[in-house]
Symmetry: C2
Subunit: 477 residues, 2 copies
Amino acid sequence: MDIYDHERMRQFFAPKNIAIVGASSRNAWFGNMLNNSERLGSGCCFYPVNPKAEEISGVKAYKSIADLPESVIDFGVVMVKASLAFDAVQQLAKRGIKNLFLISSGYAETGEKGTLQQSELQKYCNENDIKLIGPNCLGFMNVADRYSIFCGGAVEGKFLPGAIGIVGQSGATSEIIATRLLQKMLGISLYITTGNEAVITAEDCIEYLIHDETTRVITGFIEEFRNVTKLKEVTLQAAQKGIPLILIKIGRSDKGSQAARSHTGALSGNDAVLDGFFRQYGIIRVDTIEELIETAGIFTHCSLPAGDGLGIYTLSGGLGGLYADLCSDLGIRLPSFSRQTISRLMAVLPDFAAPDNPLDLTGAGFRSGTEKIFEILGSDENINIIAPLCIPPQGAFDSDLARAINEIFISRMDGIGKTIVPIPFTEMNDHAREYFHKSGVYPIEQPELGFRAIAHLIRYSQFLRKTGNIKEKRENH
Amino acid sequence: MDIYDHERMRQFFAPKNIAIVGASSRNAWFGNMLNNSERLGSGCCFYPVNPKAEEISGVKAYKSIADLPESVIDFGVVMVKASLAFDAVQQLAKRGIKNLFLISSGYAETGEKGTLQQSELQKYCNENDIKLIGPNCLGFMNVADRYSIFCGGAVEGKFLPGAIGIVGQSGATSEIIATRLLQKMLGISLYITTGNEAVITAEDCIEYLIHDETTRVITGFIEEFRNVTKLKEVTLQAAQKGIPLILIKIGRSDKGSQAARSHTGALSGNDAVLDGFFRQYGIIRVDTIEELIETAGIFTHCSLPAGDGLGIYTLSGGLGGLYADLCSDLGIRLPSFSRQTISRLMAVLPDFAAPDNPLDLTGAGFRSGTEKIFEILGSDENINIIAPLCIPPQGAFDSDLARAINEIFISRMDGIGKTIVPIPFTEMNDHAREYFHKSGVYPIEQPELGFRAIAHLIRYSQFLRKTGNIKEKRENH
């Protein structure tokens, strides 16, 4: 990304004084925008434009774009209906406001006439150096830097700044992604919805996130890549920086592809070709929002493993068997322990016939000798990733016992030189999330999704290694 | 199951006065047992036997089995170590106490010597008409009838009676199953752990649950079926009663199979053969605890569909595409709507180009016209299952709007003659679970798992129809 473009995009995603053309209390958009901005603690100022109102939601309104104060506004939001929007865009541009967000729907997603209107808009923006997001989207929320023109109403939870970028071609779906990330205390850098992408595309947003110096993991909900040449360029840049792209790309099925088409006017393309492309370029494709969240959680918290061997210890033989089956389904290797590891394990876990991987500590072993287990597995050279047992405190188990079990790996994980992915015995809740968050640990919340995420981590490490892009060692958390 | 055996098992699972040989405050077993019994509100009386204590956890103790009161005790629990347990079993039997639970481990799961001890125990029990559960398990909890000798410490939540039976060969794993069911307000009939199954096997428990008149869905965590002949018999009985068996059977992988072997002494058998057997006998095999829970939830709440066509409506095109892809992966058919359905939909949802399945109500349609959608889909003969949008109240959406959206299907689902499986837009929480529970609805909590459960429901209906076992129409909830 050239320096001019990057700086322009940086300004785009940091709007300070924002005109809102068509702001009204008859729909939820402006109210949501104010509300999100306030929840984020942003210093954005809003200048609603509405010929029929003195004020909207307590904010002074202006009769027309011409009435807006001079040289103050650096960003324009247009929420009038599609037939009036182009005129508003032109008026804003003539006043020098060239960073825009067009909310309105009624463009390429509705058929031929809308497609023509969108082309006209696109041409005008390109010829006049206008950066525009939309139409038919919810805007963006720069959580890390605290700027928001986001007009969706469904992001729940505390807006936590962090290292995960979100690019959503579907507004509502990406709101679910943002909500789930926040619920799991996974912080967001910049969350952008792109809709029909008349000007700024998902590829542009991904490129920006790669270079924003905050984002370490990029997630996305994608219906169509409109610029595959650019996508190839940006994935190479991402690989060089070791920033993974974790994407849901719908359209595996005919129906899914059709839904994408009628939704944001996307042509979702030949899926098998795209899947091959993803593999070649190291893009991590996930099938569900839940898998995306677990994968983003593990990628933001774990070091890249030096190899593909996973070692597990748990307190139930039944769970061990369940985990082994899931790992086998996903092609995750559970190496047998070395002879030395086995004899060391037998010394600390009495009554043990033959310790195997996954290791069942048993009800007895689990209460004594466990503090050695983590170090013993850590010194086995066949094991690159350790999935230790962890216990959410305030559950069925005594809290002191739970903390003691967790401390075993929390206190030793930094020095051990392995990738650590804890597996909780009981279900995680908000209290447990906060507790583990403070320790810099992301426990997998559901074994199957967690193992899928581990498989992605292993494959991504292999991809970076193969393409010569692993330069430095990353530590856990 | 013959009447004598069933009556004997009924008594077995309803213990009233229980001797606990080896009860002690040095381990958690007896304390857990008391605690679980109390939480369940059971009227069970406990008679701890310990030569060195006057009382244990506030309960009067007896020096020896001989000291126990005459003609009172109807059940014996043995928690002394394996080398002493056989003697205790014999002493109890000689006093006429022939319903037993042996907690201790150290039998077939530990190798040759333990296997011999277990055989000896088994032989004695069979020759002396002793029903025994264990060794190496956690006992059982008869939630529906309020009897418990359960000594596990990890079942969380309120013990809710209901229609789901649990058979667990792994104690800890089945505790997770019980906990998750309760968290999702799915009531339990009888929860049995079977461990090494010296006498009472998982097959025996399944047979009992089929005939207990309370259980409508049987779930299980299985490492090995020890009596395949009996399994065949009981699955036929289950099919005749339309009671589905929803089982995790570990051992798909070598490691999983090995884990099962060292855990409860199970030989987990050739998995491919078993998988074929499961399909032939209509046993629903699930891969994870999460899939088991969703499947049990849907089977207890939904009528069996008359065909395999699923119709979905949601408020986001992106989600519609995601759902379509997941359904395609799982072989779930999303039929196109009939011409009449399309024209009726276009009449109530203005600005609609071409309504398709999954149906995107869009942000506008979602607020008006939605009340007709459910009935329109309901009268389309291609659609047998409807997955309506539902909104957990007290989330990001206005609660009144959420309730109105939910009422659309809640108020109409009984008369519509279709299978109803709501899909929530935002994440479920305890409040939402209670709200939907009161309406007799089980929303799927994660789309992928929910669609897997729907696929199981469709295949199970097809199985019952093919084997001539659908006799009556079941209503939703």
